[in-house]
């Protein structure tokens, strides 16, 4: 219970847990520990795989990191001798330098190593052991995150031409206050500035849900509470200025009538404003009571002053385009959960959403019955049914212009026992963080006019080969849905973001101890 709740405060720390498979190499067997994508901010520049090769001595292992380009050509590799229980958590490439973040799970310490674009090591920076509580939270986040998803909440983010931005969580040793931290490193890992939890802040626990970042700003939701197990949250939209290394502003998301829980947003450089999108409730309602009135779009200027607000109610506005009732339920029951919001280069605003609804969990109910109500099992009696993928398009005045729905099959999720008691929009936040939704990731074209959304498809027959959906929005403004079949029956597979117009696919075959990697062209 405690660990699960703590998850809310480490939203930015979800590492991509990878395969833990063994592959054959030169007649010996080596262990693939992790893999991931090298992004230079918006675009995929390559991939990496991290292996444990063998033991170097009593205290150390030999590790190898293979680097692939954006077409999955293996182009380089480096070997390092590091302590046992070492793992590569994340890697990033900012066009000028690579940064690898390692974790020593025994010493609870971290190691950051940077290389220049040609592979010359710039710096190996060992970070001292972290607080036990901090480590537990991070470990919990790594275990809870779904391994099949490439989570968009990476902790290390590239800032092209400048360095790397680390979005994490820190515990202030004096006040024991847990809070969001932001640290900027140059390519040679000099800490340029850091924003740490503020000792004066009133709440003891604080979590941050990043929604957007670029080379100038980081925007997200600061959520705070006093009791670790409490459900009484306070939250603000918070923007940090990366160039200045300080908080730009924190803005309330409440007005006289309504409260908004934002789930997506972006910085509109043309109009010098921050735009957020989310569901809104009456002001007097507590966060997460589930009574959503509709969808709101809010704009703030660069100082945090409100510029525009648009409330679109389910009954008066949205029902013209989608069939919803007064509680935000879609015709056959369910809600619309916004996963991501962004603006295309030609000024159109889109929100990627999923239709979902609460339902009884057969497995959870069975467990409760078997234990005659005494079970404190891992599964809740409450489950979630995921339905259509929806793309909401908004006009420049923020009014909703179009809603497009795409069938991706229905999938039932059994929630962890602790989560079932939460209101639906809090459950939705958790699910989004853990990658429980079918939405995987967004890729945008280099000119910023097109985008593609990767999501999971649920087959009607479980015996059918698995499928991955990829919806391409073409520069002509049309949607082209792709259903990509994973044909060769791999033991495990992962889909990864790729260069524009492609999808990265990694497949593992346990019998042959083989991993295949490819980028597959999308049809549009």
């Amino acid at each position: 219970m405690k660990r699960t709740l703590l998850m809310l405060f480490v939203l930015a720390m979800l590492a991509q847990t990878g395969y833990s498979q063994k592959t054959k190499e030169n007649g010996t067997v080596i262990k693939l520990i992790n893999k991931g994508v090298l992004m230079d901010g918006k675009n995929v520049k390559g991939y990496y795989s991290f292996y444990q090769i063998d033991k170097a001595d009593k205290n150390n292992n030999n590790y190898e990191c293979d680097i692939y380009d954006d077409n999955f050509n293996e182009v380089n590799s480096f070997e390092i001798k590091k302590p046992n229980y070492f793992t590569l958590r994340e890697a990033a490439f900012n066009g000028d330098a690579f940064l690898f973040l390692f974790l020593d799970s025994k010493k609870k310490a971290e190691d950051m190593i940077s290389f220049d674009a040609k592979g010359k090591m710039l710096k190996d920076l060992y970070l001292p052991a972290m607080d036990m509580m901090m480590y537990s939270m991070m470990e919990s986040a790594m275990k809870e995150s779904t391994s099949s998803k490439m989570n968009e909440n990476d902790e290390i983010n590239s800032v092209p031409g400048k360095g790397f931005l680390r979005m994490g969580t820190e515990i202030d040793n004096k006040s024991k206050r847990t809070g969001f931290s932001l640290t900027f490193y140059t390519n040679d890992l000099v800490k340029k500035w850091a924003i740490l939890p503020e000792a004066t802040d009133k709440h003891k626990y604080e979590g941050y849900q990043p929604m957007y970042y670029d080379s100038k700003y980081v925007m997200g939701l600061i959520m705070a509470k006093d009791k670790i197990a409490g459900t009484d949250f306070e939250y603000d939209l918070t923007v940090y200025d990366i160039e200045a290394g300080k908080k730009a502003f924190a803005a309330t998301l409440k007005d006289d009538r309504y409260s908004v829980v934002p789930t997506g947003g972006f910085y509109d450089a043309d109009n010098h404003q921050f735009v957020v999108c989310g569901e809104y409730t009456d002001k007097q309602e507590k966060l997460g009571n589930g009574r959503s009135n509709g969808i709101a779009l809010l704009a703030f200027d660069e100082t945090g002053k409100p510029k525009a607000t648009k409330y679109m109610s389910w009954t008066k506005d949205l029902n013209k385009l989608i069939s919803v009732d007064s509680k935000g339920k879609i015709a056959d029951g369910g809600y619309v959960g916004v996963q991501k919001m962004f603006r295309t280069a030609d000024g159109k605003i889109f929100a990627i959403a999923e239709q979902y609804k609460k339902e009884a969990s057969a497995a959870g109910v069975a467990m409760a019955v078997l234990s005659m109500g005494q079970s404190a099992g891992r599964q809740s009696v409450v489950g979630i049914k995921l339905m259509d993928l929806m793309i909401l398009e908004f006009a420049p005045d923020f009014s909703i212009a179009k809603v497009s729905s795409f069938d991706k099959g229905e999938r039932h999720i059994d929630l962890p026992a602790t989560l079932g008691y939460y209101p639906l929009n809090i459950i939705s936040l958790f699910m989004r963080t853990w990658g429980y939704f079918d939405y995987n990731f967004l890729t945008t074209s280099e000119d910023g006019k097109g985008f593609s959304v990767c999501y999971d498809i649920t087959n009607k027959k479980s015996s059918d080969p698995p499928k991955v959906g990829n919806l391409v929005y073409t520069p002509e403004g049309a949607f082209s849905p792709n259903s990509i079949e994973i044909k060769d029956k791999p033991t495990l597979y992962n889909v990864l973001p790729a260069k524009w117009g492609y999808l990265g696919v990694m497949e593992y075959y346990s019998k042959e101890k083989k991993v295949t990697r490819r980028v597959e062209k999308l049809d549009y």
Binding site: G27, T28, D54, V75, G119, R518, K521
Partner: protein, 484 residues
């Protein structure tokens, strides 16, 4: 380069208007070769000395695997033997055998439909000559040297010697103990094992390099006896040294090939993103320049070796400067196009077709291949298995090939359909060539206006009943045309 090839093409077999690829009808030679291989392996097993009897099982496994490999290559149509190209090579082989009585026993020559510039002796009297080498050689003398070299490997049992050395090594108690010790080391097991294997490889490959030098010398002497000027041994090795350079170095003129009829090729498709700077050279990645893994000595060393040999020779010969009969090396170029297509590698087949159509712009076979490859690349995007049918750009490919790969990797399926349709309208026209007709229908089926497709399929089926092409058109096009 292109003009030079074009001028050559005017003589002998004409590739100007059309080309007919090899057929795979006669199986008697295949049966004979496989029978020969089986009998040879039985003979070798029976000939094992008492001392080697304990290794019988290992030899049997190796021979069985090798037999299966040769059979599977036959079954997959990777070898040809009764075509004009193989018959021509066999003629030169027989000339070498006739002039050198010490080359005894039945020899089999197979053309290996591989684009890799190589030739090989399997050690069983079988010589494999790759299309990718034949298309680079310029005259009969160079072909004679390559064949002489492989015959020398065969005559002096170099393959068998390497095999015996391998079996002796891996069954040796000392080897086993060292291998076991490295593999089960508590620390640095992977590194120790690689170090151990590299040591073994070095020993094997030094042996192999000695064999290569010996085969060069003997091959050169045999070609002299057959009347070929030994300078062609040197020119063949010089060519091998630069074989990584593409034969058709001219940049493909995509605008000339695809634009017209109001349609304009988009030059942006040819632009690629910069490759990652942090990459190892191809040699570093594959270890090609490392003495441990090199099976052949440097070509420059091999040339020096032959020059030294020639200094000691009193006999000389002047033959072999005749161009390859019927521009047989060009035939190899066309067969490479066909081979990639047959293997479903539509990207590579299209690339080689585009290179050749610059030389033979009116060749109906090439037009048909371009149409068919464009169509099947389009289908592979629809089926989401594009990566199985073409390469992706790579820092290890040539500039020209990457430029082509950028094109087919950048172009969208809808754009590819328009490009294919226009190419068909511009080049296909009303053709009586069955393959071009087939390509036309495939490409027209990608057009938004599909009204004529059903009639065209019906006409084609009527004209060419029972062919695999008419079967495909009826099965796939008539049922899927509305989905495009």
């Amino acid at each position: 380069m292109a003009l030079c090839v074009s001028a050559k093409a005017q003589t002998g077999y004409s590739y100007k208007e059309n080309y007919t690829p090899f057929a795979f009808a006669d199986t008697s030679y295949k049966t004979e070769v496989l029978k020969h291989v089986k009998e040879r392996y039985v003979f070798l097993i029976d000939s094992l000395s008492k001392k080697s009897r304990d290794k019988k099982k290992l030899y049997e496994t190796i021979f069985s695997d090798r037999y299966d490999y040769i059979k599977s290559e036959f079954d997959d149509n990777e070898f040809t033997w009764d075509d004009s190209l193989s018959l021509y090579l066999r003629g030169i082989l027989n000339k070498l055998i006739a002039a050198n009585p010490e080359i005894s026993g039945k020899k089999y020559l197979l053309t290996f439909r591989s684009s890799v510039p190589n030739a090989a002796s399997t050690g069983d009297g079988i010589i494999l000559f790759n299309l990718g080498l034949l298309n680079r050689l310029r005259n009969e003398g160079e072909v004679a040297f390559v064949l002489g070299h492989e015959l020398a490997h065969d005559k002096y049992d170099h393959v068998l010697q390497s095999l015996v050395k391998y079996v002796q090594t891996v069954t040796d108690r000392d080897y086993k103990e060292k291998f076991e010790a490295a593999a089960t080391s508590e620390y640095n097991a992977h590194h120790k094992l690689i170090q151990f294997m590299n040591g073994m490889l070095f020993s094997f490959n030094r042996h192999s390099r000695d064999h290569e030098s010996e085969a060069d010398s003997i091959g050169a002497l045999w070609m002299i006896k057959a009347g070929y000027n030994p300078e062609y041994a040197i020119s063949a090795l010089q060519l091998l040294d630069s074989v990584d350079r593409e034969k058709y170095a001219d940049t493909i003129n995509y605008n000339q090939i695809f634009s017209g009829n109001g349609y304009a090729f988009n030059n942006n498709w040819l632009q690629g993103t910069e490759f990652m700077q942090w990459y190892k050279s191809k040699e570093e990645l594959t270890g090609e320049n490392n003495d441990t893994v090199k099976t052949h000595p440097d070509c420059k060393k091999r040339i020096a070796g032959i020059r030294l040999l020639l200094l000691k020779q009193t006999a000389t010969a002047t033959g072999g400067n005749t161009s390859l009969e019927n521009n047989i090396n060009l035939r190899a170029d066309f067969e490479i196009v066909q081979h990639f297509y047959d293997d479903g590698l539509y990207g590579a087949s299209l690339y080689h077709s585009l290179q050749l159509i610059q030389v033979f712009p009116e060749n109906a076979y090439l037009k048909a291949m371009i149409e068919k490859n464009l169509y099947f690349l389009y289908r592979s995007i629809k089926d989401h298995d594009f990566s199985a049918h073409t390469d992706a750009p790579s820092p290890y490919f040539s500039k020209n090939y990457n430029r082509f790969l950028f094109f087919i990797n950048n172009i969208r399926s809808s754009e590819l359909a328009a490009l294919a349709t226009n190419f068909c309208k511009k080049n296909g026209g009303q053709s009586n060539d069955p393959q071009l007709e087939y390509g036309n229908i495939l490409c027209l089926s990608l057009s938004p206006d599909k009204t004529s497709v059903e009639t065209l399929v019906s006409d084609y089926t009527h004209k060419h009943p029972g062919t695999k092409e008419s079967k495909y058109l009826n099965e796939k096009l008539l049922t899927t045309k509305n989905k495009n």
